[in-house]
Symmetry: C2
Subunit: 456 residues, 2 copies
């Protein structure tokens, strides 16, 4: 009874706070939708700088631009946090073609891209028979047939998965681990069906990791229409021969940076909240949705909070992480330094699912905490976020959770279009809608405000 | 207490029913996501038929295609419901250019499109001074300056509206009524800022309606970049002269059809549920999102229910309505015949907001009924629909509600991208994502199943 009375007494205060929060979030939203610079920032990052793989000249250009953009947005100070990054280069134009079908000459090119971190074929290329399989299970069954061949993994996304990320989770391993799995049995190259269910023929690159116990062999991704063609001719004919040409190699590690903008907290004790995306992208596109949008949304949250005169309790760190795509050195460095300096990181939010219309946030926190923040849904719903779900974060902030136990969240934009362009040539500025981009930033800013005010 | 016991007894039945419903909806979803023909149907409708304004040869082609598609999808029978439709033709290429600024010759073209249902300028065009205003309020204040001029309505969407449909609701009247409002004071033509906040310069057409009390004058829409330019030069200069050339006219009304596919109900009493979109589109694009996607989703719902062997209680009517864009004759005819034949129409669902990722349904039913169906949200949420809101339906099914009191709903896809292409040249097939399109159909089929099973 006492508890009930107490909560009845508190009710007007709760309602007042909710009204205040609602008004503040509306203010933030109007600021972003009216004066947001994220779209123009993205235009610059994608069109004037472009693809910015770790170690490339564009990486350095992007870092300098990022620092300037943070200052323009109103950061109290900007830190360039140094870290060594891998420097993989594609080295040339990846090519593949079907050269013979049952010894009959043909010359059918396939649209391919080398996977990140792969070795090349040498200038003469590799010409040999292809073995088309649909799973690792089939690889194991047919391991005696593998030697000297190129293995073609034709593992398709399951279209009945409602969230295509589920399909990516299921099939990604053919890209990341397929080369060494095949090299174990003597394969001399691999081609993987691209990680997409898009309707065009663009190949989708992405990183892969060799198992050092086996020879390192070239690994390519092929576009879906060509994958379907290759699958068909391999199933219909005894002997299909391919030539592949690819030139990947590693140069020595080089100096990269996490670009960090800060808004200093007013609290007596310094506690940190991190908001971020990754500044690097693949080399074959403009890195618009992956993760240019996360980068400019991060800067937009800083700009908008500053523009409306918000004084945070926590020190807010806006971080453009280095080298998410093929090494994660930026994310690891950020967590290492936090640990070394004994910093108190209470929360980190990452956006790396594309700049599509927002639907929710996914959290890595304990269940009771997640339950306790459910009332926030009512504050975010007018702006598109209707769920605060369990599970989520981001690759770059993962090490903070691992090393320091920091609570994590990731923005969940609508996932349907992401794998149409993820790591492919068509991940360009024109694919981004200004309003969707800005609404993502609105919800991110609102969440940061709520966590800053109420803790987590 | 009795009520409580009763509801406790009923609980297992309710849970069982929910499990059944959930399984059935999953079955429908898998059928659509795996075997859906909506995307290929849309490709045909947009690429092989294209823009299909009422009265055009493409209208007839689209009707015949629609009837065939309904049969292929498994309709028990297909009805071609005749109705006379208006036959407005654009008549030529709409043009506008700035010819003098303060008597100094220039020749700056503006990207324009005549609004639907407008008269032309005659072959010589109209050359006169332009008066730029931002609202009807300003028009009234400056009515003495209007005579002999072209009125340029520069009424921009408010970017802080979270749903751009709100902006369309606020500003649409400048397109639909602006010509006659200006003609009242002697204007000889109007140009309206396009109903969009997109980043390109495409003009957006759409219907307008003359007030017969005033002279009919030509009315154009202008792209946003050119609107900004025109606004600037008009504010900075005393006298800006424009030439406009446009050729719209009405031919005699002609015969069109609502294309109706039926799945016969098993109930002893014939009750109808209608699902539809509109088959006509503007002439300047492919009518992809408006409303090709609604058309192919409607056919997809029919196909999927048939494919999984569903036997409805109600007779389900899948309707491709004629002439939504510039007359609504199809929607009116459908309701009129229903009334004449004393048909019992319990529910109608329309999709005319684009084939974007689904978020909800909006209902025109009484509040208590809407409350009672809220548990359905849990069944739809896995597929993207998280709200069953008050308010909604569609232009074509509106007359059913008005005339027969039929309960209505409209699919609410994500609204952020719609006005980037609505009534503009870029409303083409390439703007449609296959998965978003199919998920719309999944939710529509699920809702139809629930209404068919439980009533409304």
């Amino acid at each position: 009874m006492k508890a009930l009375l107490l909560s009845l007494c508190l009710l007007p205060m709760v309602l007042l706070a909710q009204k205040e929060d609602s008004a503040f979030i509306r203010k933030i939203a109007s600021e972003i939708l009216k004066n947001g610079t994220a779209y123009n920032n993205l235009r610059h990052l994608t069109k004037n700088i472009g693809g910015r793989l770790a170690g490339s000249p564009q990486m350095t250009k992007a870092e300098n631009w990022g620092a300037d953009a943070m200052r323009t947005a109103g950061a109290d100070n900007v830190i360039m946090q140094a870290c060594m990054v891998p420097h993989w280069v594609r080295g040339g134009t990846d090519k593949a073609s079907v050269v013979t079908i049952n010894s009959k000459k043909t010359n059918r090119p396939l649209d391919v891209l080398a996977l990140g971190n792969t070795v090349g074929t040498g200038s003469k290329g590799v010409t040999t028979q292809v073995l088309a399989i649909s799973s690792f299970e089939e690889l194991e069954k047919r391991k005696d047939e593998v030697k000297g061949k190129i293995i073609f993994y034709n593992a398709a996304f399951n279209p009945t998965n409602i969230n295509p990320s589920t399909s990516y989770g299921e099939m990604g391993v053919y890209r990341t681990r397929g080369a060494s799995r095949a090299a174990k049995y003597g394969a001399v190259g691999t081609i993987v069906r691209s990680m997409t269910e898009g309707e065009n023929n663009h190949p989708h690159t992405g990183s892969q990791t060799y198992n050092d116990s086996f020879p390192k062999i070239p690994a390519l991704a092929v576009g879906l229409r060509d994958a379907d063609y290759l699958w068909k001719i391999c199933r219909e004919n005894q002997n299909v021969q391919l030539t592949i040409n690819t030139y990947g190699s590693f140069l020595p590690d080089t100096l990269g940076h996490n670009v960090i903008g800060e808004l200093k907290g007013a609290g007596p004790e310094v506690k940190y909240i991190t908001v971020g995306g990754h500044l690097d992208s693949w080399d074959v596109n403009e890195g618009a949705h992956d993760d240019g949008t996360g980068v400019v949304q991060t800067i937009e949250v800083l700009r908008a909070l500053k523009a409306v005169g918000y004084q945070p309790k926590h020190t807010l760190r806006f971080v453009l992480f280095a080298n998410e795509e093929n090494g994660l050195r930026g994310g690891n460095k950020y967590a290492e330094e936090a640990k070394v300096k004994n910093e108190n990181h209470v929360f980190a939010l990452e956006t790396d699912g594309g700049g599509f219309t927002p639907r929710g946030f996914g959290f890595t926190i304990d269940a009771a905490k997640l339950q306790s923040i459910q009332p926030w849904v009512q504050l975010l719903k007018p702006y598109g976020v209707y769920q605060l779900a369990s599970g989520g974060g981001g690759a770059d902030i993962g090490p903070l959770n691992k090393g320091l136990g920091t609570a994590l969240a990731g923005l969940q934009p609508d996932p349907q279009r992401y794998f149409d362009l993820h790591h492919a040539r068509n991940d360009v500025f024109e694919q981004v809608n200004k309003r969707e981009l800005l609404l993502g930033a609105v919800n991110m800013a609102a969440l940061i405000y709520l966590v800053d005010k109420y803790g987590l």
